[in-house]
Structure formats: structure tokens, C-alpha cells
Amino acid sequence: MQYGDTGWIGVTVTLLLVTFILGNIFRAKKGKDLYIRRIAGLNAIDEAIGRATEMGKPVLMVPGLGALNAISMQALLIFAHVARTAAKFGTPIRLCCADAAVYTVAQELIRDVYASEGLADRYDMDSVRFISDRQFAFAGGVSGIILREQTAAAFFLGEFYAESMIFAETANSVGAIQVAGSTEKTQTPFFIAACDYVLIGDEFYAASAYLNREPVLVGSLIGQDWSKVAIMATILLGALMNSIEMRGTTVFERKDGVLQPIAERPMKIADTTFTHLFKPQRNPEEDAKIEREKDPKFDAGAGEGGGE
């Protein structure tokens, strides 16, 4: 089997991580009370909603600019938790979407929340809105809502880009409590500057496990930790091995995936075992030997038909 692109190592590592995660999920399903460290931003959620309830002003939720994927999904799951609390207190909510597919899920999800709380009648489908799928139109629209409705609490969780600063600072100007978290590390510093509580990096992914200690989520969280530990170990081991190897000399050099003898010289990083492992090379000559019969209809001149 030829793994032309990744080499066997890539496949192996990926599968290892997958096993860690799934393995722990199924392990945790057996149900043990598992530890998760404190995440400040998430304890603030109820406080923020409480504040909004006192002031009788709406709670704003923005799942970011991203299309429908795990990130916006995760954001919506956290918002479901927020919406549940808000529903109990009868606090009005505003959920502003920048993607129609996300909007669809949000409608479904939030309606479910209200229904499951037996408050279906309280649910106003206009509280979940599609604003615009164009970044700055979205930014303009949301800050318009923040300013006009004077939202008392704001949750910005998901994939945020430049607009993060517009939201955070506008919400701050109306004195809203803000909980923010973005998988976009470039935006995190701005949230840190303007928001009260910030989820950094994959604290965001840990959130739902932290909020509702479901075995599946907690298990997966443990699996993620194992994976991180594995990476840390690899880095330690690799760095040490590279250091030791590079103190020595080599009489081989890898050219096109083949080790060729050379005059003895000090090791370079490119000669180390780990580099060979991580950067598999294919031998173009060997590859060129693989020949296939041509399709008679093929016209070398033009681009091929069926430009998928």
C-alpha cells in the first residue's frame, strides 16, 4: 500500500488519537464521576442571565460567522444551555446567525429547549434571527440590535473574525456582561481586552462537557487530554532524540526517499530519524515506473472535461 501523501505515520497517529477519544467515550459511558478543572467563563453564564432578568433586557447570543460545522454546533449547544435558563426566568433572548444553515439548526434547537421546558408558548421564532451572511453587514446589524435593544448580557461563542471587536466594544458601551470565546486565536486578545469572561482555545470545546456532565462529553474530553499528553510526549522524546542524534555525524543522506552514502559530515536536522519519520519522501523514479494505459478519448491539449 502506498500512502503517497501522509506516509504510514500520519495514518497511524490519527487513528491512535481517534482510538483515544472513542475509547474513553465508551469507557465513560459506563459512568464514573469524572473531574473537570474549573473554567471561569462558564460559571459566569448564570450570573449574566440573572442580571439580564433583573433589568428585563434581552440576552444576546452570537454563534459567530462560521458556516455550519462543529464549531458553530458547539456554540449552539452552549446557547441551548443559556436559552434553557433564560426560558425558566422568562428572559427575552436574541440569537443572531450569519449562516442560513446555522440559523436552521438554531431554530430547531432553541424551539426544542423551550418545548422540553414546557414553555413552547413562550418561544418567539423571531428571537432567533438570520442577520446577514456578509461579514460586516452582519457586524452592523448585530451592533444595531445591541444598541437599540440595550442587551444586558452578550455571549459571543464560535468562529469570530474581525467583527469580534465591533461586537465586544459595542456591547461594552451599553454595559452588557460579556462571555466570549473563539476558536480563532487571532480574535482572543480582543475579547480579552473588551469582555468580562473569555474562553481561551479549546476551553470552548470543553464547555458543553463542563456545563452538563454527560458521560459521552466528559469521556471525549479525557480522550482529548490523552491525545494532548501523547503529543507532549512525542515532542519531548523527539526533541531529545534529535538533540542526541545531532551531536553525532552521518554517512548517509536521504535523496528522493532513498538513503545514499556520502562522505561523513555532522548531522543536520534533515538527517534525524524523526524528520525521516515525519517527512516521508517518495522516490520519483520508482513512481514513474508505474504506468497505466491511456484513455483513448484523452486530449492532452485541453483541460479535461467534467471540471468538478
Binding site: Q135, K185, G301, A302, E304, G305, G307
Partner: protein, 323 residues
Amino acid sequence: METPVTPPAMGFAEKLMSVKRHTLYLLLIVATSVPTFFSITLPNKPDQPSIDFFTTVMALPEGSTILIETDWTKSTRGDSMGQMQALLRILMRHNIKFAIYSTADPAAPQVARDTIGRVSEERRAKGERPYVRWEDWVDLGYFPNSEATNNAIATNIRKAFAGKTEVPGVGQPATDVFRSPVLSHIQKVGDMPLLLVVTASKTFDIIVERLYGKVPLAAMVTGVMGPESTVYYASGQMVGLCVGLKGALDIERMMESGVNNPPDKPVVVNKKNPEVVPGFPGDDNEGNGKAYYPTLHLALTLMILAVIIGNIGMVLTRKGAKS
């Protein structure tokens, strides 16, 4: 700016701590407006990523074809247009053909074409050979799905851009781009010496994920994408990187002075590679980089002052509280 509009009750320290946002906004508008009317030259020392970018582009063999993914629109004109302009000037002076495509925004090809047109026009004005579409460059257009497009380019570039046509000249029928002088010799993406991304969004992530190892990659990114893309530059997944206005300015300066040039007393030193790269001294190498740099100074100064003042205020009030 130590004189904000605040109720007289406040002490000096409190005043420093509570400058109204509107005051700051006003000051910023002034700071960014006034200098635009003047042309000032400020010292600047190119960064290594920019140097690598410049030398990589300068080293491209004459007449070769490179692929450019251009993913910026008017909204990031300030950063990207200066970069693209500098890039195009170099490419055109070295007769390097290029094919552009976009995956971020439907409006991206338009701004790219405008920029190419402008640079080509300035060549015509100088009596140099203008860059001709179809002969020297082709526009492959906009592709809505960045992942799919770059995956396709990685697996089979001819299929990725199949069916794209251009009009070779007045009165001629639209023709398959792969029959153009630009792309006729390209069978796979590896046949190109470089794939360049001029982007204001995360599209270079996708490029690296899908195309790393298939073709050398270099990027011109907006200041905000800088830190993220630096990760790829550091890990060697990108051969060159030009970040933000500073990057554009770096390139402009190197176009003027060259790298390790003159050898005896170089203006710009490339620590990685002693090879001498002459620039285009005397040619018009200046662009947005030079035009905006002084204003940037003023704006940054304002910001730094604001922060310092705030902190002084805080320290003073603390002292007051203690005594």
C-alpha cells in the same frame, strides 16, 4: 489629550483614567487624516520573512508561470492592494506569467483584475511592455469552495480549472485557458515553481492543508493573519511571507535597494543566504506602503500614549488611595 471633557469633581489622576471614548475617537480621526496629505519617508528594516518572500519571487525563472490565489476585496484594500501592487511590479519586470483564482469572495477577482490593469497601465505609461491577458496572465475566476478547489488543484490542476475559457483577443472566440501560453505547459501543480496566496482571510490554512509538499507556497497576508501564518512560515510550510503594511513597505524598500546589495556595504542583509539580489533602483517602487507608513506611526503613537496615560492615572489613584 490630557484635557478630557470630565466633571470638575474628578482629580487629575481620575481624569487620566477616564478619558471619554469620543475624545479618543476624535483624536484618532485627526491622527489618521492629517498625514495623508504629506509624503514623508521613514526608516525601515525588512523582516526575514519578507526578505525570504522577496528573494523567492526574485529567483523565479523568467517566463515561468506561477499560480496566484487572490482572496482580498475592497474591505482590506489598505493592506492587500499595496502588497499585490509590489508583487505584480516584480513579476512583470521579470516576465513571469501568472494565473489568478479566488476562493474567498466573488468580488475578489474584480479587484485583482483592476490592480493588474493599473500596474500594466503604469508600465505602458513608462513605455514598457504592458501585460496582456491570455498572453501573460489569465483569470481562472472565483471558486466558491476553497477546500474542494485546492484539493482538486492538488490532485489534478487541469481538472480543477477545466472548462475555464478566456478570449485571446478582439473578435476571437473564447478558448480553453489550458491552450493559452500561460498554462499550456502545465500538467500538474508541481510544474509551477510557486503558488502564491494574497489573502485577507484564512484561505492559506486550507492551501497549506491541501497543497503543502505539492508545490512551494508563499503568502502575502494582512496584518491580522500574520501571527497565524507565521506558524506555517516557522515550520517551513511556507517559503516566504509578507505581512501587512510593514510587509508591503519591506518589499518596496527591497525593490529599491535589493538584498545583500551592494555586497561590500549592503542596505538589507539576508542572514539566511549571502547571495546578492539586485533590486530595481530608480524604478517606481513606492506604493501604499510608503504612503501609509507615517500615518501608521502617528496612529500607533496615539494608541501607546492613550494606554500609558491610563496606566499613569491608575498608578496615581492607587498611590492616593494608599496615603
